[in-house]
């Protein structure tokens, strides 16, 4: 995790297990990783390449696949800044302000993690769908949310809301507000205090949260599946497109698109490790 620094002096003798136990634990962990992570990942790439480069390229440049990848990217671009803002605002409110219902807000922030993504999607169908709460009004104004792109954005926003806030709240609690108070005492405005003091203090935690948020926004399946309507070339995101291709027995094409998502995941992991490494060096 972000704030656990490995001790440099090595562990005390009393906490060091004997040789065989250490080896057994290491082998168990590596076996688990191999079976459940490396092998599937390798399978994705090998399946995608099964029928050669040409077909692989054709599968991911096919118009529907490209549209799905573009929609996924667009969703991430829309959701990321909004939820970064929400995360900062929520963390600031919880750690810097005193108000009634603070505990309720902390619990509410975790709600999207607690409920199944399918239910998150259903919430929006119930709210905005044709039979839903606001359905008739939306239809009357010719607005389409469910089975359209706004629905996908809303569902993704909801599902990824907690990431930044959960990362920042403990960090900001630990750092306290004294530096901010000192800044205001020296004449800084609220805006100056945020940009010059708060943001530099939380930037690594913020970046870490944003990376996880981005990964989830790209990969979200359940909630998006409920609200998307699966219209090829229009409301299909990349994960949904993979499922459709798979259900149509186009295994190579399915794995080809999946491999794009897998590569994005690997890039995300690399970025996350880089941020962790940087933030530990700074701290």
């Amino acid at each position: 995790m972000l704030r656990s620094h490995p001790s440099r002096e090595g562990r005390p003798v009393a906490l060091t297990d004997s040789g065989p136990i250490r080896w057994a634990l290491t082998i168990a962990a590596l076996t688990f990783l191999t079976l459940f992570l490396f092998v599937p990942l390798a399978a994705v790439f090998s399946q995608a390449m099964e029928q050669g480069w040409r077909l692989y390229w054709a599968a991911i440049t096919e118009p529907d696949a490209l549209a799905a990848i573009k929609l996924t990217a667009l969703t991430a671009i829309v959701v990321l800044p909004l939820n970064v803002l929400f995360g900062i605002a929520a963390a600031w409110a919880i750690t810097r302000a005193e108000f009634r219902g603070k505990q309720a807000l902390i619990t509410l922030i975790d709600l999207p993690f607690a409920v199944s993504p399918v239910i998150s999607g259903l919430i929006f169908v119930l709210l905005f769908g044709a039979q839903g709460f606001l359905g008739p009004w939306l239809a009357g104004h010719d607005l389409k949310i469910i089975f359209a792109i706004p629905g996908i954005w809303l569902a993704t926003l909801f599902v990824t809301a907690p990431f930044v806030a959960r990362e920042l709240i403990p960090l900001m609690q630990e750092q306290g507000a004294e530096e901010e108070l000192a800044a205001v005492g020296l004449g800084a405005s609220g805006w100056q205090t945020f940009w010059r003091i708060t943001l530099p203090k939380i930037k690594w935690g913020l970046l870490y949260g944003a990376i996880l948020l981005n990964a989830r926004a790209i990969g979200e399946f359940g909630a998006v599946s409920v609200v998307s309507g699966h219209v090829r070339g229009e409301t299909n995101t990349a994960p949904l497109h993979v499922e459709i291709l798979y259900n149509e027995y186009s295994f190579s094409a399915a794995f080809a698109v999946a491999s794009v998502l897998a590569m994005l995941a690997l890039v995300t992991l690399a970025a996350k490790s880089l941020v962790e490494w940087r933030s530990q060096r700074v701290a």
């Binding site: 004294e178 530096e179 108070l181 000192a182 800044a183 205001v184 005492g185 020296l186 004449g187 800084a188 405005s189 100056q192 010059r196 003091i197 530099p200 203090k201």
Partner: protein, 375 residues
Amino acid sequence: MRIEVQSIVKRFGSFTALNNVSLAVESGELVALLGPSGSGKTSLLRVIAGLDVPDGGRLLFDGRDATRRNLRDRGVGFVFQHYALFRHMSVFENVAFGLRVRPRALRPPERDIADRVRRLLALVQLEALGDRLPSQLSGGQRQRVALARALAVEPQVLLLDEPFGALDAKVRKDLRRWLRRLHDELHVTSIFVTHDQEEALELADRVVIMNQGAIEQVGTPDEVYEKPATGFVFRFLGDVNLFHGRVENQTLRIEDTTFDMPIVATEDGEAQVYVRPHRLTLQAAPTGHGEFPATVERVNAAGPLVRIDLVAAWGSPLRVEMSEDRYRRLRLNLQRGSEVFIAMQQDFYVETNGHGRPNGVASTSRDVVAAPMAS
């Protein structure tokens, strides 16, 4: 700037941190708020700084109401106990911060900022460390950076919360002498909080002694030490021995010993007598003016002051202090188990039925017995 605190009340839930506190600090003064933890000294400082809003009372800066003036507009330099340096900025940028955040029209040009910061770093003797990050400094250096940063905006008032609290003993002493010289140079009205009586007495022009959310006494270091207004002040400003006795007809009796001196206690009755260790004397035999026997437990003669721990005949522990010179002239050759007689000199504090007053050579005349300031 003159600061006037009028009947300030501050509560945290059901706890009253400041109970109707009034105080005036003159322009250019260096005042110490002294008291045990929970006495309200830090709460008072934070109210003056604008970090907390009081529940009642008024705060005047140069006669103008500043009770609700916000932190940013108060013109107060605040030095936090743990310094609150901006961890991601160099020492130079920390000090420059207050100048850089000024509105464009009031912001000095870059060259002037650099000049001013260099002068301040020279003032706090850190010229060479401008490029360092706070994490690369010692505690004493961080403290001085915090001070330079607060001074950069030319505050009307300087407030320091336990300024030496996080430093080791040697650095503390050096730094407090340095701070006194700095104050004499700059003459900024300054208030600092401390729980260390030695620090308050050495550094401050006037000392405000607080207890349980109220002010017990305000005075110069001499006044509060020599003429304590309350038993609390007497006990708090230095070591004391406590004896339980009786006062009758202006005569003090402790166990079997009657003391041959007038007592100015307000009432007759059970008495608590507080005596400083250096106001007790040792002698080999009784003279009949009021001495009680005691047994030596331990003699510590390291340093210029000899400290002798004893047990009184009735079993309670006590301590006597005297100069090394005087100890040698007494030629008592004390060892563990030695039997001696203890006499009390003037300048002790007697409390009967909850009312107390100093009993000393000076304080037997009425005019110097200060009325308690707490209200």
